[in-house]
């Protein structure tokens, strides 16, 4: 018998860059890849993004410590569909995560960007269904905490231009 657990979390972040620049790090495939996909411990197998409503983003990456952690070569894949895009203001997307082809979660996420002083307040909200005891919301939230830090580092490296 299958089992499913549901959970949600919210992460709020402030960046010293205008909403237009923060949004661009989500809408531009090269910029998105730099903070969202590239990372130590991951070997990127494929990445593509078609950033428009109804468009898809697909990434596949090998977990370098897969053999040691799971006893086998371990490929994770993320399949995303963009539900709503409002430039510089809001992105809503749904995505599934799979390990070696077996889906273990389906999520709905919204990212909201609003101007605050010279910078941006970003609110990330995720609702997820986790299957059969996999992964879990704490690990997912920790993952997004790290990704949103990497987003900040990426923006800082790009400088403070418009």
């Amino acid at each position: 018998m299958t089992s499913t657990t549901h959970a949600s979390f919210i992460i709020e972040r402030r960046y010293q860059h205008a909403p237009k620049r923060v949004f661009a790090a989500w809408s531009d495939p090269q910029a998105k890849r730099a903070w969202f996909v590239e990372g130590e411990g991951w070997d990127i197998r494929s990445y593509e993004m078609d950033f428009h409503e109804g468009g898809e983003e697909k990434s596949s990456f090998r977990f370098v410590k897969g053999e040691e952690t799971f006893g086998e070569e371990t490929l994770f894949s993320n399949d995303t569909v963009f539900n709503e895009i409002i430039a510089n203001e809001r992105i809503i997307f749904t995505y599934s995560m799979a390990r070696n082809g077996a889906r273990f979660s389906i999520s709905l996420a919204s990212v909201e960007f609003s101007a605050e002083g010279q910078g941006t307040r970003l609110v990330f909200t995720e609702h997820a269904a986790f299957f059969d005891g996999a992964d879990g919301v704490h690990m997912r939230e920790a993952g997004w905490q790290e990704l949103l830090l990497k987003l900040g580092d990426h923006l800082d490296k790009q400088g403070f231009g418009q």
Partner: protein, 152 residues
Amino acid sequence: MTKRATTHATFVIERTLKHPPAKVFAAYADLTQKAKWFGGPPEWTRSTHTLDFRVGGRESESGGPHDGPEHTMNALYWDIVQNERIVMSYEMLLGPTRISVSLGTTEFKPAPEGTTLTYTEQGVFLDGFDDAGGRERGTHELLDQLVAFLNS
């Protein structure tokens, strides 16, 4: 510029049905059956209902009151376990305006009486057009229509 606002909400509805899981599941999987219970109130005009029931497949249903705006539901199926679980995401449009995006999980579990159906909706309601309370009431009405269909 429209003022952007989002409200996030989750609700869970559990129903005990006097029919086995396979029969209840079929009422979701087969368009001929689903079209008989899934939709607005009986007095609404129905314009389209399409269903491609497989992972990656889509469903679209629209209709509305005679003098009111068209209500459209566009769904995408993310996970299907025969007779056990259906996970889909869907958006609701009022006329051309998107009013919500939701993740809906329907679980079917065998029970002594037949089936325990649990529907969990996690949604984001947009720009003040709809709210979770209205959606939950609407979903109760849909499940009443499902029960009436199964009992017919």
